[in-house]
Symmetry: D2
Subunit: 406 residues, 4 copies
C-alpha cells in the first residue's frame, strides 16, 4: 500500500462534502471475501439491498443500483429516457448542475439552462416559478424533462423539490422530473414517491457513508414507460434488463459485490438510528456550523434561509482572501481536508462537510481547524465560531446514548 | 452484515472463473479509509496505479481506469471509437463474445458475427483466416473494428491475438483491433503494444484478484485518434477528459478510491512474484487440471491444443448428465462454487477457475470437490483425476519458497 | 507490515494443530476499534462472552478468561489451588503433558509422573487404572491434584476424561481433577460439569479459531474452595478478584478487548452451527484423515482405537525417514505448514491439524500436500491416501448446505 | 459481533489514558491471518519486533515481550528478581503505584510504601530525596528493589527517573531500580539504559497504540543476574527461557502473533515520524490541554510544574462537583469516554488522554466535549478552555505535512 497520510500523526479529518468518512463497520463489511454473484448467498444479499434501498429513497418503485460512481447514474437517467436532440430544462444551482448540463450536451441533448444571473443562482435553491413560467410557454411540450439538483454539493443549497413538482403540475406539463440527490440522500430528507419524482439519481459516497463506486436511479412508472420508447443508445445503463433480473436478487452483469456488503451494513446503521433521527441530527449539526460562520462574521454561500443544506456549509471568504490558501493551511497544519470552491467560486469559498457519520465532536474538531486556519491566513474574524457552535450544540444537547439493552 | 456463507463450517472455495478469490492483503487494502480524491495523497496514489497498470497490459500508452465493472469497459471501447451504424466485425468464441455483440447492437452498431457453426466455435479460438478473408472482401473498408475475446470465460479457450493482428495486416485493412481480456489479464500473458491492439478491455475481478468494480481500456494512438471523430454519444466513458486529468493522477469525476487501494496492492503482489512467473504458474495449474479431466475420461470444452486457457478449464459432461446438478451437489456438499455452462452450453458443462491467487493445494482441493461431486451425481469416471493432477504437480514441483531475505 | 508469506503465490495452508486458521469473520471482529474497558459497552461485551464461554465448557460454574496465552492458564490452575511442595499426580501422554510437569516443578510443586514406558505412553490415552492404583496407594492423601491432558496436541491422542474421574472416585480420593483441553475445546466434545472436572484449562487458538492470546480456567466449587487456602503466591492469575468483578462483566485489570470481540464472534459461529454438529464434523474429518494414513501404509501415532483425536492426526514415518524433511518439502513446494514431532518424537512423525474451521476440501488439500511431499521425500506409499480419504468423505457426505432462509 | 457503540451516530472519541485509539493501519495489521509460530515467517517477524522494541525503550539489552496484558509484566518483574519475604521500596504516586504494591504483597514480598501524605503525593512526582534518605538508612541492604511509576496514569504526573537513579547512586545502595512506564512508553521520552533502570515494565495499549494484550520487561544485565538467584516461583514469566529462544526470533510458548503484527506496524509508524518528534508532539498537545484547564479556572491534578504528563491530564473538580457525573454527561451527550478518578480520587477528578495517535483536532474535539459537559453539569467556568487551547495550538502550529516524496 502506498502511504496515504502525508501527515506525521493521527487521524485525518475528511470534512469534504463527500466522499464522507466511512465508518469502521462499513470498512469491515466491504473487506469480506467476494462471493459468486450467481450463487444463492448473493441472491439473498441482492434481495436485501434492493429492498432496503427503497426505504432510503422512500419509494415503492424499483431502484437500479449501478456498479459505477455517481456521474454514471446521471448518464443513466438521461440515456434511458431521452432521444437524440431532445430538449431538457435544467437549472443552474451550481457547479454540479453545470456539469450535468455539459453531460446532456455531450450526449446529444439540447439542454436549456435556467437560473439567476451571476453567482446569485449559486446562492439560492431552484426558483420554481421560473420553471413553471418556462413550462407554460412550452405549449408544444418540446421539453422532455426537468432536471434539478436537490442538494448542490458545490454550494450548500438544498432545493425544495416538492415546489418544483408543483410548478410542473401547475403548468400542466408532461415533462419528466429528474432529481440529482447524490449528496443529499440519507443525510437530508428525501421523498421520491411523495414528491412525484420520475428519476432520482444518487451515489454511495455521501450520506450512505460508503466509498465511491455504486450509484442509483430510483424510478417512477412514468420513467419506466419513457425508457421503452427513448432512443439514445444504452446498454450498460439500460434499466430494463437490470430491473428484470433484480426480481430474483441478481444483476445481468457483474455487480460491485463488496460495496453491496457495505450498502447492507450502511442501511442497517441508518435504520437502527432511524432515518428521521438521522435527518434531525444533520439539521442540528448544520445549524451549529452556520452559527459558527455567522459569529466569525463570514457569510454562508447559501443566502436563502429555507434552503440551507444539512449536508455541507459553504463559507464565503472576505474580499481578497484566497480560500484555497486557507484550505492548504488547514490541510498542512491540522491534517484536515475541506472542500474547494468549484467553477465560478474557485478561490472564493470553501466547503465544510458535516454529512454521513458526523457527530458533535467531529464538528467541533472541524470548526476548530477552520478557525485556526482562518487566523493563520490572517482573515479577520469577528468572534469565535467555535464558541458559538459549542453554545448551540450544548444548548440543544439531548442525551442520545442508546440504552444498552437496545 | 447478512450471513454470506450458507454452509455450516469452513472456508468457501470460490473456484469460478471470476470473481476470483481476493487475497487477504488486498481485502485489507480496500478497507483503508477513503481519502479526498482531490488531495495530494490521492494524486500520489493515482500516479502510482496509472504507472503500474501499464505494466499489466505491457503498454506505453494510456490505460483508462473506470469506476465501473467490466461490461462498462466494453461499452467504453465502442462508444469512444464508433459512430452510429458503423459495422464491426465480431467473432463468436462463446457467451461473452455473444454478449458483446448484443451490446454493439443495442448501441446502434451493425455487428457482423463470424464463427464456426454450432458449438464448434465455442471449443476453439478465433480462426484468424476467417477474419483475414472477410476483411479482404471489405474493399470499401466499411468495417471499422475487429472485436475479439482473448480469453473466453465461458469456455476456457484463449485466442492467439498476434495471429488476429497478422490477419488484419495481411488484409491491409485499417479496422481497429479491439480485444476483451477481462478474464485473461494478469493470469494469461498479454501484450497490448507488441500485438498491435488498439483497445484492450479488462476488469478487476479476475487475474488482478480484486473485487469487481473497476475496469480498463488500454489504448493505442490510433484508437485515441479515432475517438476524436467518433460520433456515438459519450460522456461518462469519454477518454479525452480522463486521459487529460490522469496526467496529474486525478480523474474528472469521483473514482473508486478503495478499489484503487486494492489495485495498488495487487500490482505490488504481481510484480513481487514477477509477471512471467505468474503466467507460468497458471500454465502449470491449468495443465494439471486438464490432466485430471483427461483421466476422468471427460472432455475439456477447448479442443484446440494451442488454445487451452491458463485461467479456467471447461469440463464437458457426458450425454445425459446435467452439469448444473453436479455443480449443485458440489456446492451443497463441499462448499465450493463452480462456474455454470452459459448460453448454448447451459447444463452441458461446468467451469473450473484456477486464476488469480490459485496455487497447488487450492487446485487439489478444487479437483477433489469436483471428483466427489461427479461421483455423487453418478457420472462414470475412468480414473482419478485427482491422482493424475497430483502426479503432474508433484513431478513439476520446484521449491518455490522465497528466501526469507528477499 | 513485514511480508509474512515467503511463498510466491496463493493462500498458505496452516494445517498445524494450532494456532488454527482464523476465519474471516473473526479476523474482522478483532480489528474493530478498542473500547473503554470500564465503559458500558464493555460491560455488555463482557457479560456476553462470560455467559457464552460456559456453554463451550458445558459448565454452570465460573470460567476465568485470562489476557494471556495458554501456558499462563496452566500456571493459573496450579498457583490458585496448590501450596509450595504439594504433590501432584501428572500423566505423561506426550510433550505437552511433560511441559506441564516441568512447569509444576518450576513452581515448587512435586509432580509424580505416571505413564507407560518409552514412547508407548505417547501413543495411548491416560490409563485410568494406573491413576486409580496410585491414588489407592496414597492413603495419606498427599496427592493434591490429578493433572491430565484431554487432547495431546503432540500426538493426536484424546483421553477419556470420564474414566479418569471414575478412577479418582473409585479410589475415594479427594484430589482435584485438572484437565488441559487447550487443543480439544470446541473441536472435541468436552463436558466440564458432567465429567466432574475441577479445573479445565484451555486457550483461544485451537477449536475457538482465534489468534493466540486469551486462555481459560473453568472452575468447580471445589476448586474455588481450594483457592482460598492454597499458598502459592498469585496475583495476576488469582481467581478471586476476577470472578468477583466478572459478575458485572468487567475485569480487575485491562482485558484483551480485541480478542474478546473475536471470542464473541467465534461463539456465535459455533452456536450457529451447533456444538454437536461441530464435534461430528471433526470426527468425520479425522476418520477420513486416518483412512488416508492407513492406505498410505503408514501408522498413526495413536494406536488406541477409542482415543483417536478429532483435532489432529499424528503420522509416524517409516524407519529412516526424517519427518522434518518431509515437512520442509511440503512447506517449500506446497505452501503448507504441518506440525513437527516434538520432544521424544522429533523427526519421527509429523502432525496434521484438522481442527477449527476445517472442512472437506481443506482436508483434501492438506492430504494432497502430504501425499506429494511424502513422495518427493521418497517415502514408499502403499496407495493413495488422498483417494481413500476422498472415498470416505464422499460416502459420508450429506448435503450440509443450510437453507438460505435460516 | 455485539454492537459496541451505544450511541446513535458517528465516531466514538476514546480519550481515556489508555487503551488509546488504535490507528487504522494497526487494526488492519492485527487482522492478518495467524501464522505458524514455529515457521520461518514467524522467525523473521520475531527478529524484527525484538530488534525494534529495543529502540522504543532506548536499550541495548533484551526486552521480553509477554503474551499477556500489563499487570502480568508487573508480576514478571517481581517474580524474576525477588525471593519470598524480600523487602521492596515502593513509592505512592497514585492508584497504579498502589496496585503494584498490593501485588507485591500478594506475591509474598514486603513492600515499604513511601510517599507524601493524603492526596499530596498523588499530585507530585516521586520525591527522590525521600528514596535516598530511606536507602541510606538501610545499611544492611535489606531493600532489594526500588519500584516507581514513571507516568502515573491515575494522576497525570510523570516522574524524573534519572533523579531516582541518582538518589540510589548517592546512597550507594545495590537495590534494583524497577520502573513502570506502562502508560509512558512511546508517548513520553524514556531511556532505559541512560537512566540506569534494571527492569522497565510497559504495555501495548498506550503509546504503542495497540490493543491491550502484550506487555514488556526491559532488562539490565544486573536484573538478569538477579533472576538466576531469585527464589519466587516463576514459569510463564521466567526470563531465562524466553531470552534464550528469542535469539532466533521465537518464544518457548505460543506468542500473541496477531498483536506482534500490530507491534511491527506501530513501530514502523513511530520510527517514520521519529521518536523525538512523537515526544514533542505530545508535549505540545499536553501544554495546550493544560492551557485549556487553566482558563476554565480548574486545577490540574499535577501541581509540580516539571512533572506534567505529556500522556494525560488530570482535571480536578471544584468542591461539590461529582466528576463522574460530568463524565457521564459527556459520554451520553457527546459520545466521548474520559478516564475516571481512581482510588482516593474517585469522583474528585477526571482524566483526559492525549496519548498515542492524538493530534491537534482530536484534542480540540476532546476539549470541546469536556467544556460542554462541564457546562451541562453546571460547573462554573472562568473562560473558554477551548479558545485558550486553540490559541496555543495555532500559535505553535508548524506545517507538519510531510512531503509526498518522503
Amino acid at each position: 500500500m502506498p502511504n496515504l497520510n502525508f501527515h506525521p500523526a493521527g487521524r485525518h479529518f475528511l470534512q469534504i462534502p463527500g466522499p464522507s468518512p466511512v465508518p469502521d463497520r462499513i470498512l469491515r463489511a466491504i473487506s469480506y471475501p467476494t462471493i459468486d454473484h450467481r450463487g444463492p448467498e448473493f441472491g439473498a444479499l441482492g434481495r436485501q439491498v434492493l429492498a432496503g434501498i427503497k426505504k432510503m429513497f422512500k419509494t415503492e418503485h424499483p431502484v437500479v443500483i449501478y456498479p459505477a460512481s455517481g456521474t454514471g447514474a446521471w448518464e443513466a437517467a438521461l440515456t434511458n429516457t431521452m432521444s437524440p436532440g431532445d430538449t431538457v430544462l435544467m437549472y443552474e444551482t451550481g457547479h454540479f448542475a453545470s456539469l450535468w448540463k455539459k453531460m446532456a450536451e455531450r450526449l446529444g441533448l439540447k439542454p436549456e439552462f435556467l437560473g439567476l444571473p451571476g453567482i446569485e443562482g449559486w446562492r439560492r435553491g431552484v426558483q420554481a416559478d421560473l420553471i413553471e413560467e418556462r413550462l407554460k410557454a412550452d405549449t408544444e411540450h418540446r421539453i422532455k424533462a426537468v432536471c434539478v439538483v436537490h442538494n448542490e454539493t458545490s454550494t450548500g443549497v438544498t432545493t425544495d423539490i416538492a415546489a418544483v413538482r408543483r410548478a410542473i403540475d401547475s403548468a400542466g406539463h408532461p415533462a419528466l422530473l429528474m432529481v440529482d440527490t447524490i449528496s443529499g440522500l440519507a443525510s437530508a430528507d428525501y421523498r421520491h414517491d411523495e414528491w412525484g419524482v420520475d428519476v432520482t439519481i444518487s451515489g454511495s459516497q455521501k450520506g450512505l457513508m460508503l466509498p465511491p463506486g455504486i450509484s442509483f436511479n430510483a424510478l417512477s412508472p412514468k420513467a419506466l414507460a419513457a425508457s421503452h420508447v427513448a432512443k439514445l443508445p444504452k446498454a450498460f445503463w439500460a434499466w430494463d434488463e437490470i430491473v428484470e433480473m433484480n426480481r430474483t436478487g441478481y444483476w445481468p452483469y457483474t455487480p460491485n459485490t463488496n460495496l453491496l456488503y457495505g450498502l447492507a451494513e450502511a442501511m442497517d446503521m441508518l435504520l437502527e438510528e432511524g432515518l428521521e433521527h438521522v435527518f434531525a441530527r444533520h439539521q442540528r449539526l448544520a445549524a451549529a456550523c452556520r452559527e459558527g460562520v455567522r459569529v466569525w462574521g463570514l457569510e454562508t454561500q447559501c443566502v436563502e434561509e429555507s434552503c440551507h443544506s444539512p449536508v455541507l456549509t459553504g463559507v464565503m471568504m472576505p474580499e481578497g482572501v484566497d480560500a484555497d490558501r486557507v484550505r492548504k493551511l488547514v490541510y498542512e497544519n491540522f491534517n484536515m481536508s475541506l472542500g474547494a470552491g468549484l467553477g465560478k467560486l474557485k478561490g472564493l469559498m470553501f466547503r465544510i462537510g458535516h454529512l454521513g457519520e458526523c457527530n458533535d465532536l467531529t464538528l467541533m474538531a472541524t470548526l476548530s481547524g477552520c478557525e485556526m486556519g482562518l487566523r493563520l491566513a490572517g482573515v479577520p474574524l469577528k468572534g469565535s465560531g467555535v464558541v458559538a457552535a459549542m453554545d448551540y450544540l450544548q444548548s440543544t444537547a439531548q442525551s442520545m446514548a442508546r440504552h444498552p439493552a437496545k
